[in-house]
């Protein structure tokens, strides 16, 4: 077995460290080593977005990042989205608009949507569709996901004023 690396990183705001082989992806490390199973594997090659996380605030597919690359980075996963048990407005909106069916894609869509709203708090439908195109959903036909993002955006805008 090739040398394992000791990686020190911050996950959802908390310092964390783990051992991993270079060939293990960040997704594998999250799921199998750290047992944070919220990020899902749909393709393992960057095509479905189910494994979406933020690395230093940038939305990426964690299956296309090596675990060792997490050294010194800030990683945000779906597990950190609800704060103290309080759901994020996007999580609430996905529930209320039934923006999910089987739910396997949902953590990825939520991470992407959160990244979108942080960058563009009032996206129109086309902007949402463009931003979410790296996330595949086979159940919903996207309609209710788009509406959920719109609803959350509106609610978050309302909270601000």
């Amino acid at each position: 077995m090739s040398k394992r690396h000791h990686v020190t990183t911050t996950i959802n705001g908390e310092e964390s460290d783990f051992l991993c082989e270079p060939r293990q992806s960040l997704l594998e490390v999250l799921r199998d080593v750290l047992k944070l199973t919220g990020a899902k594997e749909g393709c393992n090659d960057g095509n479905c977005g189910a494994c979406s996380v933020l690395v230093d605030g940038v939305l990426v597919d964690s299956c296309c990042v090596l675990g060792v690359e997490a050294e010194g980075k800030q990683i945000d996963t779906i597990e950190g989205m609800a704060v103290n048990g309080e759901l994020h407005p996007l999580q609430k909106a996905f529930l209320e608009e039934t923006g999910m069916q089987c739910g396997i894609c949902t953590p990825g869509f939520l991470m992407s949507s959160k990244a979108l709203l942080e960058k563009n708090p009032q996206p129109d439908e086309a902007e949402i569709r463009h931003w979410l195109a790296g996330n595949l959903c086979r159940c919903t036909g996207y309609d209710k996901i788009i509406r959920a993002v719109q609803r959350a955006a509106n609610e978050m805008a309302g909270e601000k004023v």
Binding site: P22, N44, G46, N47, V60, D61, A133
Partner: protein
């Protein structure tokens, strides 16, 4: 995936030393969106993966009176987020904003796109159309090569085993010039180009005739193609449908595509013509300062 070692290179000297020490069994890691995928599916093997994202020269993105310099490890997302770039280099934005989806763009680099040397790579035709220069470092120093001379075959570049791409530079476009990149994919996102085309034009001050044009295209040959003859055919010609169509036909003739799961020969040839016309028209519009 097979076993490999991983190291972060802090500077160019270290990177080139590691490369030459490993004699072809080391690979540079930029965004990994090609490398990790092809290592995983067994199409590429490496004993050592050298993470190049901490090398200062590779992460620099700068824009000045001379032109644009894109470090080899600058991501697509850093490019399209840079609002200053859009003015002079809109076709770079065209390419950077349609490689993969947002997640892929957060990692994928223009340098990686070039060094992966896929026939369908979406940044390469644009770089060629802009006449970009690749700056390559080896143990002895740096050399500069026009981008159209980099790709040799699918997945194969003219970089030798101990070389690393440092940056890509593009001279500041002259007045009355414009460029456009378009690709055709069956879906609207997350697809490999069936055909892609980039065109860059320089017009006279009235915008009536072409002074110069460069056209490049992908997915129609083993490497991205610089169709010099198509661009040259426009020099001195009036800007009209006829001259544009003639250039597109030259491009069509130059294409030698295959039929595969992504498209047929016939369809690809037609797309070359259609996209050449469309990119030229759009580049002209941009050259004239019209929205496109």
């Amino acid at each position: 995936m097979h076993e490999f070692d991983y190291v972060v290179a802090e500077n160019l000297t270290e990177a080139t030393k590691l490369l030459s020490d490993h004699k072809g069994s080391a690979r540079i890691l930029a965004g990994g969106t090609d490398l990790l995928v092809i290592m995983r599916n067994g199409r590429r093997q490496a004993k050592l993966v050298i993470d190049a994202k901490k090398i200062p020269e590779l992460t620099d993105l700068s824009l000045n009176d001379e032109g644009l310099s894109i470090g080899a490890a600058v991501t697509c997302r850093q490019i399209w987020e840079n609002t200053e770039l859009a003015g002079d280099y809109p076709a770079i934005i065209d390419s950077a904003s349609l490689i993969g989806g947002i997640q892929v763009q957060g990692r994928a680099t223009i340098g990686g796109n070039l060094c992966n040397a896929a026939p369908s790579a979406d940044a390469i035709p644009t770089l060629i159309a802009y006449g970009a220069i690749a700056h390559i470092q080896n143990s002895d120093g740096q050399r500069q090569v026009p981008v159209e001379e980099i790709c040799q075959a699918p997945g194969q570049t003219s970089l030798s085993e101990d070389e690393i791409l440092v940056k890509l530079t593009i001279a500041k476009p002259v007045a009355h010039s414009g460029a456009k990149f378009l690709r055709f994919i069956p879906r609207n996102e997350m697809d490999i180009a069936v055909v892609n085309v980039a065109s860059m034009v320089e017009l006279d001050s009235e915008g009536k005739s072409f002074l110069k044009a460069r056209i490049a295209m992908g997915s129609v040959a083993p490497t991205p193609l610089f169709v010099k003859a198509a661009g040259d055919s426009l020099a001195g010609k009036e800007v009209n449908d006829e001259s544009i169509k003639a250039a597109a036909l030259i491009a069509r003739e130059a294409a030698t595509p295959i039929t595969d799961m992504r498209g047929t020969i016939e369809h690809r040839k037609q797309l070359v013509e259609v996209l050449t016309v469309r990119t030229l028209n759009a580049a002209v519009a941009r050259a004239k300062g019209e929205q496109s």
